[in-house]
Assembly symmetry: C2
DNA sequence: AACCTTGCAACAGTATACAGTTTGGTAAAG
DNA sequence: CTTTACCAAACTGTATACTGTTGCAAGGTT
């Protein structure tokens, strides 16, 4: 292509495009992501694709075989459990660290809750839910926790997207439970100790976990 | 070069070499890692160097500026605090998960303790200490926790290496405290509940943290 | 002396070419 | 019918060339 200067680097475009196709299920789990084919598909050369594949591996959306081939991540129910364990390691501490800041200003959380209660689809509901948790980790002021969260979130979105395509994701009362839990958290940030916020976040994550239907092992 | 087939990929070699030079302080914190120069230095082309730089960014040993230039990570005391917060999020949960497996077989931990008590230098002491913690995370069976640990460890090694070069890292009684704490942990794995192991690990990390001298902000 | 220009050198982004490896299928042998 | 040997296509690893950008310093202007 003779585009003079892409405003955003091609490799970033490649990451964004690939991420979307993987999360949206356009590339099915387990699909081989051959550099040449993807490059042709995205309209760039192999080099940016290569970098995108490595970046997405970091986010847990791509797996590399021992021989260096890249495949769309095929999350197993066991992976999903790992992800929730990982959430339980990151988020309660994040909540504790974020409590001081959020007790003073919870406006972003409030806005998010308002949007969540009006979410028209399950997928938008879950995305707003993830936004809520992301706001808290941002407020924790710990860049490393936040970085891990981004990777975690990618994989959760991948899982939720698949689940939504394969099964009925919505369960009666899910929206109310989400909003209720979040309101409780905001209240805790304002009135309770950081330690209490940490405990409440653990409970909240465990509770939400239960709302999700399990996905059978495809075998 | 006309080497027929490098047994290990050049990019892996580049990662290993660069990591060593950074941790050993051969490349000073803040140094520009220009692809061409590094490539010449390591005897490979720019492509493997590029990949190595991205990989090391993931490990927190390299920083990228907004204009895409790579620099040797310059850890601040604040970064160090973040690292320990991150440890507190990963390791106690790792210990809880690992407890069942380790209660049955603690031979690797026992061997490590034996080696630790004989460590001739402070740097070897700290490395064996990190090995001890790594064994536990491996036993947790959670690949995601372990992956994060590797990145965490890289940065701790970077910090400890610098500290050791700049200050007297050794403090009287440090070795005994380390070995003592580790023995206590092994005992807990064998006789106490996973929850108790989790608590003990938190304490152990906080305690060890106090042994390290603080590093002034260069400023 | 301080402040803009201008130009050059160094650098990253990207494409492409080539070498070597893996893979899957097909034909030959048991 | 099964197994082995082999070959061609596909794929990754790596080098290199090219382009545009950035940073910096020299020289000129107020």
């Amino acid at each position: 292509m003779e585009l003079p200067v892409p405003s955003t680097p091609r490799s970033d475009q490649a990451v964004a495009l690939l991420r979307r196709r993987i999360i949206d299920g356009e590339y099915e789990p387990g699909t081989l992501l051959a550099e040449t084919a993807v490059a042709r598909d995205l309209g760039v050369s192999r080099v940016p694709v290569r970098e995108a594949l490595f970046a997405l591996e970091r986010d847990g959306l791509v797996d590399f075989s021992e021989t260096g081939r890249a495949y769309v991540k095929d999350l197993s129910p066991r992976d999903f459990e790992e992800l929730y364990t990982f959430r339980l390691s990151l988020e309660p501490i994040g909540a504790r660290l974020a409590a001081p800041a959020l007790s003073k200003d919870s406006s972003r959380l409030d806005g998010n809750i308002k949007a969540t209660s009006k979410a028209p689809t399950v997928l938008e509901l879950t995305n707003l839910d993830l936004d809520f948790h992301e706001i808290i980790l941002e407020a924790s002021g710990n860049g490393r926790l936040l970085k891990q969260w981004h990777s975690l979130r990618s994989q959760l979105e991948l899982w939720l997207g698949r689940l939504n395509r394969l099964k009925q994701l919505h369960t009666p009362g899910m929206s109310e439970a989400t909003v209720g839990g979040h309101k409780e958290l905001v209240k805790a940030f304002k009135t309770k100790s950081p330690d209490e916020c940490e405990r409440l976040m653990s409970q909240h994550i465990l509770g939400w976990h239960q709302w999700l239907p399990t996905m059978e092992v495809p075998e």
